[in-house]
Every structure is written in structure tokens, then in C-alpha cells.
Symmetry: C2
Subunit: 441 residues, 2 copies
């Protein structure tokens, strides 16, 4: 019997030393970010009020396709990277599909998701620039825990606004942030003007990424030496996350295969862009055609049902105007367990790529996502995050199509995080208490 190889790793010498900046190679560049008052394009200087200077620069860089990863960031990446590329033989077998299913396993990272890949450089740049405090929002808490740890290791103070409903659904994530010394506040809170306004309008607001962003942005802009960081949506975040796809590309080559389909769940776009962009560069150059699929929750379907327009990134309207597919910045997502996908808009790069036909969105009902997650757990032995369950559900859809057609497609998806902190969600699902939501009216 030929031995089937299950996992592929890179040696430390093979780790990427540059991130891939897809903006430089896009045919149509993303539209500029606009100042909401003047409606004039924002410069890196404008953005650096909010972000670390280097992040602001990366955000608008449409010239350099490759950006050096600082030595110190590379050193910290080596602590946990590469992550394994895994062939999901057991899942394939359970589905009876001829498709070859691979996943890039970011769930074994410290803190359990891909978020650390951007938390490290963001904290690094802040530290380099003399910043002493960082703040952010977090939904499910994956970004919050990653930032809390990264901040701790760089000696930065860290304040996190966590979406109130997620805090209640996943109290352990707040505990983890506190373990790393962060201050955690449920959003909307009474600690900011934005929070107070929201609570006054709607006393039982469950919070959303939009409300939490407003509060973190307000804290950053009213506190000296404090910068705002974030875990998704923005271009520089996707840039840092391209480490995922760059590794995966080398690992797929080790496996002697090349993906026909690439799938990731979609909240703001960080794990999707991270995996997809490095592969998409060949497409931009007219090479191999890959089907790029972003899996979003049916209850928050900005890619499949949103409009491409300028909108705010937050609920209160503090951020620049972003050109993106959006459900409206006042869209209030329902309380699905995939807290990391409860966001009204998509990043500007992804929005442009979607508009230009380089990728597509699919929307996944909540019950289908947990069905998929349960099958994955019972076959591959890893309990996936509710967010990642959406990618698995989309993967299963494609694998089932292959079963019908007999095609041996190679499908690669991103397992963005584990679901060990989300067992209440699985409990509810197993007890039959979960429902499918449609978007709020």
C-alpha cells in the first residue's frame, strides 16, 4: 500500500520573507478611502492619526508587490510557523468524493487562529514608532486574544472592546485576554461617547463589530500614544495574512498538486485574502484559473446581497468612507455564533476583486455551517470555529458536486481557527436550539 502523506510543513529556511501586496498587481486598483467631511482621498499621513505609520503606508501602497517582513516579525513567525497543510482524507472518505481536499490549519497557532499573523506586525510597528498603548475591537474574540498576547510580548498596554453578545456567548475568550493582561470592555459600553449614544438609542443593543470599532477608534483618537489596530477589513491586515497563502503555495507544490478551488470564510476578509491573494496573482497574470469562494453567513450577506458603495466601517461613522460591498453601516447582524462574520462590509480590495469577477461569494445558513463543522470534527478530530464552519460547508458543497460529476478537483480551504471556546454553540446545535436566520429587514 502506498503511504499517503497527511501533513506538509516548511522548514524555517523555507518560510516566506516577504508579504504579497496584491494591490500592486490589480488591474483596477481599489478606489481611494475618503474623508467623510471633505470627500477627498485620504493620505497615509491622514491614516497615521489612527494607525501605526507603517501600517498606514502599507494600506495605500499600490506600487510594491512584495513587502519585506521585518526581521523581528520573521523571528516571531518562526515561533509557530509554518502551519501544517493537511490533506483531509477522512473527510473525503466520509463524503465519498473524488475531490482532493486540503486545509491550511491555522487553528494550531498560539491563541487558536490566524489572527496572530497580523497582531505581531501591528504591535511591532507600534513599538518601533514609540506607541505605548494599542486598542481594538473584537467580535468572537479571536483577534482580541491574538492582539492581547502580541501586545504583552512587545510591552504594550492593550484595551479591547468586545462585542457584548460575543462576550456573553464566549466568556472564556475574555478570560484569555485578561490572562494576557488586557483590559476588556463589552461594547456598546458607557465608556465612550459613541457607546453612550448607541445605548441611549437602544438600551439592549447586543453590540456588533461596527459598535466596537466606533468605541476603539474613539479611544485611540482621544488618547495620546495610543493607536488603533484591527484584525480584518483593512488592506494592511490582508497583506500580513498573505503569509498563509504564500506558505500554502509552497506546501501544495510539496504535495504535487495545484488547487482548482480556494475557499475561506468571510467576515472582513483577512483569512480569505491571506489565503487567496498569493494564488490570485497568477490569475491576474492570466495563468491558471482558480475558483475563489468566500463563504459568508446567510444572515450577513454583504458579498452576495450587499451594494458596492462608499460606507463607514463602523456604526457611529467615525472611520473614513470605504469603497466596499456593504449592507449599510447601521446593519445590525443577528446573533449567530460565528461572531467573527457579523460585519456589514467587505474590505476594499476584495470588493474590487468581486466587482471585477475574480472571485465569488456564497452564503451559508447557520445550520448547514454546524452540520459541516460536526462532520469535520468527527472525521478530522478538530473542532472548527463557527466561522471556519462556513468554509467547511462551502467545501463540502463543492466536494459533493465533484461526486456527481466525477471530477477530481483539488480544493484548498483555510481552517482559520478552532472552536474549543465555542462549545456552547455546539451544545445549542446538538440540542436542536439553533435556527437559520435571514438578514434583518
Amino acid at each position: 500500500m502506498m503511504k499517503e502523506q497527511k501533513r506538509y510543513f516548511l522548514t524555517e529556511d523555507q518560510l516566506p520573507r516577504q508579504w504579497y501586496n496584491i494591490q500592486a498587481e490589480m488591474v483596477n486598483k481599489p478606489l481611494p478611502l475618503l474623508d467623510p467631511k471633505t470627500r477627498q482621498p485620504l493620505t497615509a499621513d491622514d491614516l497615521s492619526v489612527l494607525f501605526a505609520k507603517e501600517c498606514a503606508k502599507q494600506e495605500l501602497d499600490t506600487e510594491h508587490a512584495w513587502i519585506d517582513i521585518p526581521e523581528e516579525v520573521q523571528r516571531r513567525y518562526r515561533y509557530y510557523r509554518s502551519t501544517p497543510l493537511v490533506r483531509a482524507y477522512a473527510l473525503e472518505q466520509a463524503l465519498g468524493t473524488p475531490a482532493h481536499i486540503y486545509f491550511k490549519n491555522e487553528s494550531v497557532n498560539p491563541l487558536g487562529s490566524h489572527k496572530l499573523n497580523s497582531a505581531i506586525p501591528q504591535c511591532y510597528y507600534c513599538k518601533q514608532e514609540g506607541v505605548t498603548n494599542v486598542t481594538t475591537e473584537t467580535g468572537a474574540g479571536q483577534w482580541g486574544v491574538a492582539l492581547s498576547y502580541a501586545a504583552k510580548t512587545f510591552g504594550l498596554e492593550c484595551a479591547v472592546y468586545q462585542v457584548k453578545i460575543s462576550m456573553q456567548q464566549k466568556p472564556y475568550r475574555s478570560s484569555i485576554m485578561r490572562t494576557f493582561g488586557a483590559t476588556v470592555t463589552g461594547s456598546p459600553s458607557m465608556s465612550t461617547r459613541a457607546g453612550k449614544d448607541i445605548i441611549t438609542r437602544e438600551p439592549n443593543h447586543p453590540g456588533s463589530l461596527g459598535t466596537a470599532i466606533s468605541e476603539a477608534v474613539e479611544l485611540a483618537t482621544t488618547t495620546p500614544d495610543c493607536k488603533y489596530t484591527l484584525g480584518s477589513v483593512m488592506n494592511h491586515v490582508s497583506l500580513h495574512q498573505t503569509i498563509i497563502g504564500l506558505e500554502a503555495e509552497k506546501q501544495m507544490a510539496m504535495a504535487g498538486e495545484s488547487p482548482d478551488t480556494i475557499i475561506a470564510c468571510f467576515g472582513g476578509g483577512s483569512n480569505f485574502g491571506g489565503l487567496a491573494f498569493p494564488f490570485m496573482r497568477h490569475q491576474l497574470r492570466g495563468d491558471k484559473k482558480i475558483d475563489f469562494i468566500a463563504a459568508e453567513p446567510a444572515s450577513c450577506p454583504k458579498l452576495t446581497k450587499g451594494k458596492f458603495q462608499y460606507d463607514f466601517g463602523d456604526a457611529a461613522g467615525y472611520t473614513p468612507l470605504l469603497p466596499m460591498y456593504t449592507l449599510g453601516h447601521d446593519f445590525k447582524p443577528v446573533n449567530i455564533h460565528a461572531g467573527g462574520l457579523r460585519y456589514h462590509g467587505a474590505g476594499t480590495i476584495v470588493s474590487q476583486l468581486l466587482k471585477d469577477g475574480y472571485m465569488r461569494g456564497v452564503d451559508i445558513p447557520q445550520l448547514e455551517s454546524f452540520d459541516a463543522g460536526l462532520l469535520f470534527a468527527r472525521t478530522e478530530g478538530i473542532i472548527p470555529a463557527p466561522e471556519s464552519c462556513h468554509a467547511i460547508a462551502a467545501t463540502i458543497r463543492e466536494a459533493k458536486k465533484c461526486k456527481e460529476t466525477g471530477e477530481e478537483k483539488v480544493i484548498l480551504f483555510c481552517l482559520s481557527g478552532h472552536g474549543l471556546i465555542d462549545m456552547t454553540a455546539y451544545d445549542s446545535f446538538l440540542n436542536g436550539d439553533l435556527i437559520n436566520y435571514v438578514p434583518n429587514a
Copy 2:
């Protein structure tokens, strides 16, 4: 700057194909297991009433130093092994120690601990022998979740008795077992005669591994086609776990180092034996002297304060008599959060090795264990299981000694599992609600 390598992996071709059976090379073999009624040594046939035949055979095998890992078990090991050997640079730096600290990271295994290493072969042998049901006890739940998953993948029904207090402290672990389709019952329960007797004597008994073992053993011996499995204490479990040490030995060679000190936490001995025994074989042959340290909780100190004598493995007295260091089978451990270490006795191999001076025990107060765990989390980015915190605490003690003496000792410890399901314990610790316990009178 020379690049420091952080992690070492084996390729699939380098994975061990045999387990190491230390019994074959021990100078003084473990004393025999005795039938409590006749006080006669038990044979493999006797044991196979309870265990899979092959496990019963391995349990008493004092002849073969190397035992082939079945092909199918090797195939499943390849799904997640090797686990990384990691150099804890950040922890070293925080301690200011000249010691080189390495850890074998079993926390990234599916289900989050080393337990799967034995769950797979135990379920494999049961399946081979036509068994349809498996049962077991679990404390913290690490063993229970591993068995639930392994049983699911082999198509076996699985019933788990979980220590009642652990079930309350860590409800997520029960959820994970249910996710894999297992039936989970809190012990002591009213579902067995043993459980009823215990509850009658003491209505609020918090449960212990001893009570849960009694119930699982009773279920196995009164149910056709049902075998008992367990996650520690027995020789065949340590045998399966030697995959840890055999990998670590190759990985340490890749790092160009050789351990002076080897440390693991100690409940029944499975992760300790798994890491230590392969290294100890050189010692048995008179080669390099290594300091082997088993870290137990100060509140359950069988190695440092127990007596070497024949005792039952369970509370009700259903098991064979085992020759071991024990606090007495009616010892009721206090409710420390390291549920996996709340067991009154040590395995028979370890007991003999301790008696013969090949290793030593240290006992760690609860607060010291969490102090150590917190430092580890904040430096290495991994939240360790409360059990593993004991190994880390012992490691820190040794590393601090090196700081005093200036010795560049090489310390290797086993990170047996992550603590993501144990955040209530960290919460209590951070809130100042935990105390140090001494053993019950």
C-alpha cells in the same frame, strides 16, 4: 545574528514504527498484578475480561523491548504526528536562565492533549477483536474526549464516566465528548452499583478518578461486547505513549542537544512515562545520567508521600491489586483544577523505577502551578492545561537553579495539553480565589 531555530518536526518517514516497552529492560521488573480474592498473579487471559486481548498481553509483556505499532495505528498517527519539539526561548529570557528549555508540544494534537496516542491503539485493538462498545473514566476530560473521537472513527459506541466535580468545573469537555457522539455520565452516579454505594455513603461526593473507574469497570464487566479502556496508570498505556519520547529523542538530536533533565506532570504516569521511558533506556544500560522528575500536585502526593504497597486502582475495589506508590484507594483528592492529577496511585512501572532510584517526584502547590502557567502563556503564547502547569513549575524551579549556578543545563518537559477548556481555573486564579491545598487527612 545567527538564526535560532524554534521548532523541530520529523518527516512522516522518520516517525517511530515501534513503541518502547521499558519492562523488558528494567533490572527489577514490576511486581505482578494480583487477584484480590486469591492474591495470585493475574495472567493476560484474566486481564482480557476487562481489556482488549492485545492490551492485556502488552500489559504483562516483560520480554519484548520493541513492539510493532500496527500499520493502521501508524496511519492514524501520521494524521497529527510528529508533534513539534519547541525551544522556549521566550520563557528562558523571562527567567534570565542559562538553561536551554525545550518542550514537546502535545497540546496541538487533535483534542488538545497527548491522550489520543493511546486512545487510537486501544480502539483499534477493540475493533480488531470484535468489540462494539468501549467505556472509560475521565477526570479533567482530556482522556474522555480523545477516546470519544477515536471510538467514533472506529465505529465503536462509547460511554464515559466523568468525575462529577470536573464535569462542573469544565462543562465544555462534556460538550466535546457529546460532539463526538459519546454518552457522558457524572461519577459517582446512580447508574451502577458502585456509584449508588458511594452516593449512599456520601451524598455530595465530588467524585474522583477512583469512583469513575469503579463505575466504568462495572459497566464493562456487566455488558457483553464492552471493554474497559483507560488513559493512564496501566503499562500498555505508557507503552503507547512512548511515541512521545521516541520522537523527542530524534528531535533533540536535530537540535544538537541532549537533555540533562526530563520533566512531566504526574497523574497516573502516561505522559511522564511516554516522554521519559525512551530516554531512560540509556540510563538502564548505564549511559548518560538524566534527572527524571515527575511533578505531582502537593495536594495529591503519592510519589513523595505515598507508600509502596499493593492497592486497588479504584475506589470500590473492583480492579486487580496493583503494586504501587499510593495514598490509599479511599483517598479523596481535594478539588484542585488539575483534575487529571487527582489520582491516589502511580503506575506499577513508575512505582518500581521510583523505588529503585531512577527518577524522583516533586510536589507543586496549586498557586505555584498557576503562576508558572501564566508566565508560560505570557511568554510562549500557549495557555497550558492546569496539569501541564505542574511540569512547567518544576521546569522553572530547575531553570532558576541554573541561574544561580550558571549551568547551561538542557531541560526537556512535556506540554501534555492546552488549557483552553480550563479558563474558569485561570479566572479564579486571576481573581485571587484559588488556594494551596495540603492532602486531606
